[in-house]
Symmetry: C2
Subunit: 315 residues, 2 copies
């Protein structure tokens, strides 16, 4: 099968079709999305080697569970042991022995086929088209924030970063509090949120500090310091940016202001699928381009450009 | 009156005895303690100019409230407006217009007299000697942690830092969980905790990661990175260190592990006084030297030395 393989360089390869081990399903990938994490991995993040990609929608071609067979599915990316301390503490996403689709010791979704444990799969409601369903994983990552923090209507929320994930987070948090502001560097990106009546500002604008919650999703190491300047005392800063390398921060500020800084990674698929099915989160305006899988290498190059948002791959 | 005044240099000066404004008490200082924050201020932290010092025990010489007059007291250091957003949110320690004893726009305790709002004062129980009561403020800072996090017995707690505040924190957290370890660089300091049956380790020792809570109180910018390596996924890192300047940290680690980093500053005086009165926290072993106020400048120099813990000043 065709797959985009990374071993220091990303290139299309012809690999054997994977045989699912017991408990796993064979999934034919219909559509996959390029995430900034994929681009970070190509810069050395996680030290990953293998097939890239972790956002997908696909058809179950083979599996033991008859309810899944032949169904269109999306899949949670952390594959867990059920046995370690963190699995027993009901924190499976932190399983000490986990593999992660396209990120850690498991081939990913930029391929004709992938395998995942059956328990990771969620059936996609019929009315949700592929190019919407493929956003389930990043929308779930946005919903992780409201699992970690209670955000109530009226609370002042600032999302720093107008990229793909930043926009999904702004949309999801806006469902909780209409007092949500997205700050970015790109007028054309912010315009997508303006169209949804979500307030936006440019990074260079003067922004009133004292927000209850600031989400750092700039993808840049400098974002944390600004988040710490914008959040109120005893407020929360949510970290979504993963960058290879170190960030500088003035530690006195969060101590004096007793800020909570909360790391946030993968989230729950069910509320994400529901929001996509109901149209509560609008993902189609984020799609810049769609490439056939055979041109995945070109698609990755294109995804790095400053003038694109989401790049999709189709079978 | 004699006072240790800082304006880029710390020197003894003869200042006018302060006249307490309405609502404030005039307090004759009996004993004061040197904190690392005082030493940081002398390095430029907070840009403070004035009389140094914020840990004290004293006698109320004049005030409107007859219940306080003539009483021996300790005092909370944040003086607040009762009017700003944070006061109204019942977060007075974050008052936007606060002054802070010996730290922000208010003369401090290394003097014969100070003034503080009556509401800041707590009467010291009779059985608590001055050299114990003078520790109320830093013990309260330790109790702040258990206001912010619920720590249950059996939870694994690591305190990074064996200095004055680190030791008080280790003692307070040990009251909640006997599974508390203090990690430091100084065998003679750690021996003080060994004597209390609190587990200790040297920084160079190999320490099992996966702690539920790690408190960073090393006073060094490098402590945060180690704390992030020792805490378990979804665990908490408490920041107590305030250092002038920036720290480097790898931001991916707290994102992947979804760590909560919690800044922590001033705490509640009542549980601190109670712990001191009951002997649940042992402070006398931390006292290295006591100087008369007239020798405060020498005391500050001495407090910088690596072979001392708490330095006290007496009237």
């Amino acid at each position: 099968m065709k797959a985009l393989f990374f071993d220091g360089q990303a290139s299309m390869r012809d690999l054997a079709e994977p045989g699912p081990p017991p408990g796993e399903a064979l999934v034919r990938v219909l559509m996959a999305g390029v995430c900034n994490t994929d681009l970070e991995i190509m810069q050395g993040y996680m030290g990953f080697q293998g097939v890239l990609g972790h956002e997908f929608v696909g058809m179950v071609e083979a599996c033991d569970n008859e309810h899944l067979r032949g169904k269109r599915v999306v899949g949670e990316i952390n594959c867990v042991c059920h046995d370690c301390r963190y699995c027993q503490l009901e924190m499976p996403n932190h399983c000490a022995r986990r593999t992660v689709l396209g990120i850690l010791n498991r081939n990913g979704a930029f391929a004709e086929y992938l395998t995942l444990p059956e328990e990771n799969l969620h059936i996609v409601p019929e009315g949700v088209p592929d190019e919407v369903a493929v956003f389930t994983e990043p929308v779930a990552a946005a919903f992780r924030i409201v699992e970690q923090l209670s955000i109530e209507d009226g609370q002042r929320v600032i999302v720093l970063g107008d990229g793909k994930l930043g926009q999904l987070i702004a949309q999801v948090l806006w469902l909780r509090s209409k007092n949500t502001l997205c700050v970015g560097k790109h007028p054309w990106k912010l315009a997508l949120l303006d169209a949804l009546n979500i307030e936006t500002a440019l990074s260079d604008d003067s922004i009133e500090p004292g927000a209850d919650v600031v989400v750092e999703v700039t993808g840049s190491a400098a974002g944390l310091q600004r988040a710490l300047e914008l959040v109120r005392p005893e407020g929360a800063v949510v970290l979504k940016t993963t960058v290879a390398g170190e960030s500088a921060m003035n530690m006195s500020l969060p101590v004096i202001n007793e800020v909570r800084i909360v790391g946030s990674r993968c989230g729950p698929f069910r509320p994400a699928l529901e929001a996509l099915a109901l149209g509560n989160v609008e993902v189609r305006p984020l799609i810049s381009e769609t490439y056939p899988l055979a041109e995945a290498a070109e698609a990755m190059e294109r995804a790095k450009a400053p003038d694109v948002m989401k790049v999709l791959l189709r079978a």
